[in-house]
């Protein structure tokens, strides 16, 4: 049993079958990549995992509990964090405050009216935020407005915000989309260190084969809403069905 089990998931938008009988099992502490050409249903699948969409049929189980019908904030509280395609951070807040919010969410749950203590008085949490910022080399930028950061820094901040909650599963939606080669390589290096340092399961949706083959333990190829094959990167590389789906070559 994997930590994330997707069974017979179907999703239809009007006449379009976006997902058809998707089965997926993500093993704990592995890096699982989902690849596929445009319109293969990768994002639809991801949205079904985080509570943004509800599949028409099938089930999605995380650590033995169903996520279906739960709101995004409830799913986060179960231990799933999500990194977006374009970094979603609190642009009007400082980098340091960006780190404090996930910490408060983790400690206090979805809502708590703590209107009288000061933020600075929470010494344990501020210390933890500082340590995490140090880990991603952003401690010197703590007082900067997050909105003024470079794109690469925004990406690192977003990942740090997800990681500081110690999620069991980290979902990454094309984490290197639109990045220059150097930034892409930095992101790969960052994800590798994250993987080495802690017990975490990652599920990456990605277009860039370079990223996928440098990181993934298992790869699922999605085409027209259905999984074609699931295998190790070595076996996927030369798989005839994958070539067909991507390049339209006859196998």
């Amino acid at each position: 049993m994997g930590i994330l089990e997707v069974k017979d998931v179907n999703k239809r938008f009007g006449g379009l079958q976006a997902l058809g009988d998707v089965n997926l099992s993500v093993a704990e502490n592995s890096v699982h990549a989902i690849i596929g050409p445009n319109g293969a249903g990768k994002s639809t699948l991801l949205n079904c995992l985080v509570g943004k969409l509800i599949p028409d049929t099938g089930s999605v189980m995380f650590a033995g509990q169903s996520v279906l019908g739960r709101k995004p904030y409830q799913i986060n509280q179960m231990g799933i964090s999500r990194v977006f395609q374009t970094p979603e951070i609190f642009g009007d807040l400082t980098v340091f405050e960006n780190m404090m919010i996930p910490l408060f969410a983790k400690r206090d749950g979805a809502f708590r009216l703590h209107a009288f203590e000061g933020v600075a008085a929470e010494r344990d949490l501020t210390e933890e935020a500082r340590r995490m910022l140090d880990e991603v080399d952003m401690l010197d930028k703590g007082d900067a407005h997050a909105g003024s950061l470079s794109r690469g820094d925004k990406r690192r901040l977003e990942m740090a915000m997800c990681l500081i909650q110690r999620p069991r599963l980290l979902l990454l939606d094309e984490p290197t989309a639109g990045m220059a080669r150097a930034d892409t390589n930095n992101t790969i290096a960052l994800l590798r260190t994250i993987k080495e340092k802690r017990d975490i399961t990652m599920c990456i949706i990605e277009h860039d084969m370079h990223v996928v083959f440098s990181l993934a333990d298992r790869i699922t190829v999605l085409a027209q809403g259905t999984p074609l094959v699931e295998d190790t990167p070595e076996n996927i590389k030369g798989h005839p069905k994958v070539k067909e789906a991507y390049l339209g070559e006859a196998a």
Partner: protein
């Protein structure tokens, strides 16, 4: 001090000093001088400054932090006033229970309106709050006449029961509002040479309330709760995916700001025990939006400044009529005098809205951070060259 940082403590002390010395500061001109009409240090106006300051501070907790622009906050002010007057009619003329009830009633009212309105955000939220406020206004004006006394407005009369107080004074007059015997209208006048300063019990009650309200606002701004509210404004999507439910946060902010409005409404009634439906009208809701933006939304001191400026204009500029202008320019030759008066006249007296409008436009275009940003720019101008480090580091809005 009091759980505040150094800068916040200084700000609070500064505001405390300014409010307590307001009777001096607002009366800088000799009583019989030509400029005496610019004196704002009479109790009635000073009370308005601080009461509307409270209203704006509360509004800023919602609008400044979460970015939800309510166009219906006057409804809570009005509800607070009605609640207070009913307390004067039924219980006693002591202002304390009246103010307490007005805060509670406004809070319940805000909970109901906020619960429904906060299902939408942006312009739809604004329209929903506006609709609720206009409904309240229309109801208070007509259908709810038994409670609100319709067009006439709710007043204390000689036939009210007042269980804990007296129905009428021994001389047959209506009793006045008081705080454990201190009459709200009691005023000490201090004459110093050509100057005159007025100290009113009512003003100092309002001032203390405003300082408490201001202190509470600072605590909220600096708390994790306040940070969550700013996160709501910044990126709701990220907040939901970080495990936070934004709805109860915005609702709590809405109710807190509604209670501030109720406190302001209760104080208005405590100073002058009557309440009319026009307090709920949309122009009153719009006024608090103007105050907040003019002073600087999202800053601590901004809304108080904005409230002061607007109330000053409303009460002082509006009193400058044609005769006053002719008096000022009498030393000039007749032709020039008439031209000058003709040019200035549209901007003062009944035309004070024009000046206010122009000023508001100038602030929004050139100082998007309001008067507070103007102050910060001036401070930075003075500091230039002295310490390059301080200049580069942009201080967060106070």
């Amino acid at each position: 001090m009091l759980g505040l940082g150094k800068k916040d403590t200084l700000l609070l002390l500064l505001v405390t000093a300014l409010t307590l010395c307001a009777p001096f500061l607002l009366n800088p001109f000799p009583v019989n001088g030509g400029l005496a009409q610019f004196n704002a240090g009479y109790p009635d106006l000073m009370q308005r400054f601080v009461i509307f300051g409270i209203f704006a501070i509360g509004f800023n907790i919602l609008f400044g932090l979460t970015g939800y622009l309510s166009f219906g906050h006057a409804a809570f002010l009005g509800a607070g006033s009605y609640a207070a007057v009913w307390m004067f009619k039924l219980l006693s003329m002591n202002v304390l229970p009246a103010i307490l009830l007005s805060v509670v009633i406004a809070g319940i009212f805000a909970l109901m309106i906020g619960y429904i309105s906060l299902r939408r955000s942006g312009i739809y939220f604004s329209i929903l709050t506006l609709a609720f406020a206009q409904m309240s206004f229309a109801l208070a004006y007509s259908v709810l006449t038994p409670i609100t006394n319709g067009e006439t407005g709710l007043q204390v009369t000689l036939s009210d029961p007042r269980i804990l107080g007296v129905t009428a004074n021994a001389d047959g007059s209506i009793p006045v509002t008081h705080l454990f015997g201190i009459e709200m209208r009691a005023t000490e006048v201090l004459r110093m040479g050509a100057w005159e300063f007025q100290f009113s019990a009512g003003y100092y009650l309002c001032a203390v309330m405003m300082l408490l309200a201001f202190y509470l606002a600072i605590r909220i701004f600096r708390s994790p709760f306040g940070m969550m509210l700013r996160a709501v404004k910044s990126n709701q999507q990220r907040l939901y995916y970080t495990g936070v439910n934004a709805r109860p946060y915005t609702l709590a902010a809405f109710v807190i700001s509604g209670m501030y409005a109720g406190l302001a409404g209760g104080l208005l009634a405590a100073m002058d025990p009557l309440a009319g439906a026009e307090r709920m009208q949309w122009t009153a809701s719009g006024e608090v939006v103007l105050m907040t933006i003019l002073g600087g939304a999202g800053t601590l001191i901004g809304p108080v400044l904005g409230a002061g400026v607007i109330k000053y204009f409303e009460n002082i500029f509006s009193k400058l009529n044609e005769n006053v202008l002719h008096g000022w320019f009498a030393f000039l030759p007749d032709g020039i005098e008439d031209v000058l008066v003709a040019v200035i006249y549209p901007f003062v007296g009944k035309g004070w809205h024009l000046t206010l409008g122009l000023m508001f436009m100038a602030v929004v275009i050139f100082l998007p951070g309001g008067l507070v940003e103007g102050g910060q720019r001036i401070t930075r101008l003075f500091r230039r060259g002295r310490s390059p480090e301080a200049q580069r580091r942009r201080t967060p809005a106070e």
